[in-house]
């Protein structure tokens, strides 16, 4: 009986506590707050976003017109990640009270001394001394620095003039926001907002995938003006994709003209068909002889293709790419590479000089120089003269890349220069490239030239060139079989 009473008694307590518990944990997690002073509503950032992007703060939900937030041009959707409060120091009293306020909670502050860069000072534990005392009224000077304290380790000298103390606080939650703002009564404050780069990168990538002409200018703008490398990189990749899509216009116009999503595969340009299949825009069935646009993207893109093609050919994208392939202009190699790919696809003859500059630049990464050569060989015949001129240069790498590019282009002029070089050069490294380039051209005069080389090196059983020539001939024999 006694046990029963005790049990019931416990239950009664529990019943009493339960509503309180629910009130605190169930209903107490309000995630919005109306700031009466700034006249705006803020919302705590979703905790899942915090975990995904390691960002934190409060999002501005709504700004009342003509309120302080509105006057400061704070916008809906901005994420406030830091609150920065400035305490001007005009007297020793100012200094002490500012220091106390600024060190509260987070134990660190930023000290502004006249003619010196800002100094960030952090205390290890709450209650530790900073080790700095000041004197004066109007002009406040450092008069003592205690050894072994944070102040002694910083670049502070006795006699330095203290201008202000700045407190920069991370805002992790709505509670942080309320607490920090509650303390700032008289002083001006600054919100530091964080850009949600992830959203922009996703939008940039999506715009590249969608293949819409309207995206072109905003992407170029972002690429040229953003300070974020990740954003610029995404923008140039999307531009590259748009360029790749635009050169498939002929094929998409065929579908558009007939107003169908399926055409006989042999009625379409073979190389464009292959590129479109690689980009996942259509499927080719050789047995059935059909090329079918993939839904939803391929079927929708045929309506947009013409506009994109026009914007790309009439726009500045080729000029832009030419500018950003130079290491002096663009320090990020991934961006230079993307620009070179764009030029390789667009094949503008106006880019030949710029590409040759990259090819010849010994300060550039070899891979990028080689890519410039590749872009020149994609431009083809018009680039032959420039490549021959580059080939005459002293630098071995330049010669090597130019020879390889000439082999990729082919034609009589390129071939004759390569053959004459093959017959006069003794440099082993260049010879290998020349043999490869001449073999790539593969017409009758080229093969005769290669045969002469084989005879020349016949005695030399150990030579790498001899082994390479044998390999080249066995490959040629396989091809003719």
């Amino acid at each position: 009986m006694l046990k029963k009473i005790i049990r019931l008694g416990k239950l009664r307590h529990f019943v009493g506590i339960l509503p309180l518990f629910t009130l605190v944990f169930g209903f107490g997690c309000d995630n919005r707050h109306y700031d009466d002073r700034l006249q705006m509503e803020v919302q705590q950032l979703d905790s899942d976003l915090m975990n995904r992007w390691a960002t934190s703060g409060v999002v501005v939900l709504d700004v009342a017109s003509n309120g302080p937030a509105h006057k400061a041009q704070l916008e809906t959707g901005e994420l406030i990640s830091h609150v920065i409060v400035e305490y001007p120091v005009k007297s020793a009293g100012d200094f002490n009270s500012a220091m106390k306020k600024a060190l509260d909670e987070d134990n660190n502050l930023i000290l502004y001394l006249k003619d010196k860069p800002p100094i960030r000072i952090a205390l290890r534990r709450r209650g530790d001394k900073m080790g700095l005392s000041v004197e004066g009224n109007g002009t406040v000077r450092v008069n003592q620095i205690r050894p072994g304290t944070p102040a002694a380790n910083a670049d502070i000298q006795v006699g330095d003039i203290v201008e202000k103390i700045v407190d920069e606080r991370n805002i992790y939650s709505l509670a942080d926001y309320k607490k920090t703002l509650g303390k700032v009564v008289k002083h001006n404050l600054t919100f530091r907002t964080s850009e949600l780069i992830g959203v922009k990168i996703a939008a940039v990538n999506a715009l590249g995938d969608l293949g819409d002409a309207r995206a072109l200018d905003p992407l170029i703008d972002l690429f040229q003006n953003s300070h974020e490398f990740s954003l610029r990189k995404a923008a140039i990749s999307s531009l590259q994709r748009l360029v790749e899509l635009s050169v498939l216009n002929d094929i998409f116009q065929e579908f558009q003209r007939e107003n169908v999503n399926q055409l006989p595969a042999d009625s379409l340009q073979a190389n464009q068909l292959e590129s479109a299949a690689i980009l996942g825009l259509l499927t080719v069935d050789r047995v059935e002889n059909t090329a079918t646009l993939k839904a939803p993207f391929g079927t929708q893109f045929r309506h947009r293709s013409e506009a994109l093609y026009r914007s790309i050919t009439e726009g500045q994208i080729a000029e832009l790419a030419q500018q950003y392939i130079q290491i002096q202009v663009e320090p990020e190699q991934e961006i230079r590479r993307a620009c070179l790919s764009i030029l390789g696809v667009l094949k503008p003859t106006s880019a030949i000089d710029a590409l040759v500059t990259v090819l010849e630049n010994s300060a550039e990464i070899p891979g990028i120089r080689f890519q410039a050569g590749l872009a020149l060989s994609q431009i083809g015949e018009p680039a032959v003269d420039a490549l021959i001129t580059a080939f005459e240069k002293e630098d071995t790498s330049t010669k090597d890349i130019a020879a390889s590019a000439l082999g990729g282009i082919g034609g009589n002029k390129a071939r004759d220069r390569l053959i004459s070089a093959l017959e006069t050069t003794d440099e082993a490294a260049i010879l290998l490239t020349l043999v490869d380039a001449v073999a790539k051209i593969g017409d009758a005069p080229s093969i005769r030239a290669l045969e002469r080389q084989r005879e020349r090196y016949q005695q030399d059983a150990d030579s790498g060139l001899r082994i390479f020539l044998d390999e080249v001939f066995s490959n040629l024999a396989k091809k003719t079989m």
């Binding site: 979703d46 937030a69 001006n188 600054t190 995938d209 969608l210 819409d212 309506h303």
Partner: protein, 294 residues
């Protein structure tokens, strides 16, 4: 008295032995053995078992379970793979003989098998149950599975719901929508996935409400982030009328699912998306905003 009991047991044992399907027993023995081509030979026994008057249900089930079309004949090399639909048909015939037992076995046992063909055969059988058998019982068993504490059951159930729902969304979508209120997060998660696989526009309002709950004022009203994220993916799979809902998410600057929504929209290729995406690019970069309070 004791003797009488013994006599009873003996009689039952003898009767029991006499009524056992011998081929079935032989086939099952073979499966357990380590003999060469044991499955093919077992299948032959199961087929023979069907000619006997008893235990046909199990023979059918095992024929569906073990791959057989042309069963093994001694000294032949012929072996043709049974089609999934043929195997499913056998499983369904087992259900026809003993519906309760085999419905449960199909959902809670066969679907768990590692072999994808066996899973597909079970799905095939369940599709037949849906159209030719006790549909209500099937639905209630699937609901039991999706509410189960075992992840394998929940996964199987969402998969079957997804397939059945494609043919009959008007019946199954409301059932799944109701499951979005279930107390178990994983159940809600699987219901969301199934709704995406069905791809019916009927599910859009419920999924949209679930996503929006992320901005609810009180924590108790907010759905778990992973469920909301999957709901965005499901909207992407539905496409069509879901595009405006996805755009709404992109435009909601406080939402944590904007990236997911953008990704879903990118695959749909709808040009309505371009304008909100361009707006997203125009959003402020990181900056310092001075607020004058004096």
């Amino acid at each position: 008295m004791k003797r009488l009991w013994l006599a009873f047991v003996l009689v039952f044992f003898v009767v029991g032995c006499g009524t056992q399907n011998e081929n079935l027993a032989k086939g099952k023995e073979l499966i357990k053995s380590d003999k060469r081509r044991k499955e093919e030979r077992a299948v032959r026994e199961f087929k023979l078992a069907l000619q006997q008057p008893i235990d046909n249900a199990e023979a059918h089930y095992l024929l569906g379970f073990y791959n057989s079309q042309e069963f093994y004949e001694p000294n032949t090399t012929d072996w043709e793979e049974a089609s999934i639909s043929e195997r499913g048909r056998h499983m369904f015939l087992a259900y026809n003989e003993e519906s309760r037992k085999y419905l449960e076995r199909l959902i809670f046992e066969t679907l768990r098998d590692d072999d994808l063909d066996i899973q597909n055969a079970a799905l095939e059988a369940l599709k037949r149950v849906y159209t030719q058998g006790d549909r209500n019982r099937l639905i209630s068993q699937l609901q039991k599975a999706i509410k189960s504490g075992d992840n394998r059951d929940r996964h199987s159930a969402h998969w079957v719901f997804g397939h059945l729902g494609k043919d009959d969304p008007s019946t199954l979508v409301p059932i799944l929508v109701k499951l979005l209120d279930h107390r178990r997060t994983e159940t809600r998660l699987n219901a969301v996935k199934a709704l995406g696989e069905i791809g019916s526009e009927e599910a859009i309002p419920a999924l949209a409400a679930l996503i929006e709950s992320g901005s609810a004022r009180w924590k108790r009203d907010r759905e778990e982030p992973e469920v909301r994220q999957l709901a965005v993916e499901s909207l992407g799979k539905i496409g069509g009328a879901a595009v405006p809902e996805l755009i709404k998410i992109v435009e909601n600057k406080g939402s944590s699912l904007r990236v997911d929504a953008i990704r879903a929209l990118a695959t749909l290729g709808d040009e309505k998306v371009v304008a909100p995406l361009l707006d997203a690019l125009k959003e402020q970069s990181s900056r310092d905003v001075l607020i004058p309070l004096n």
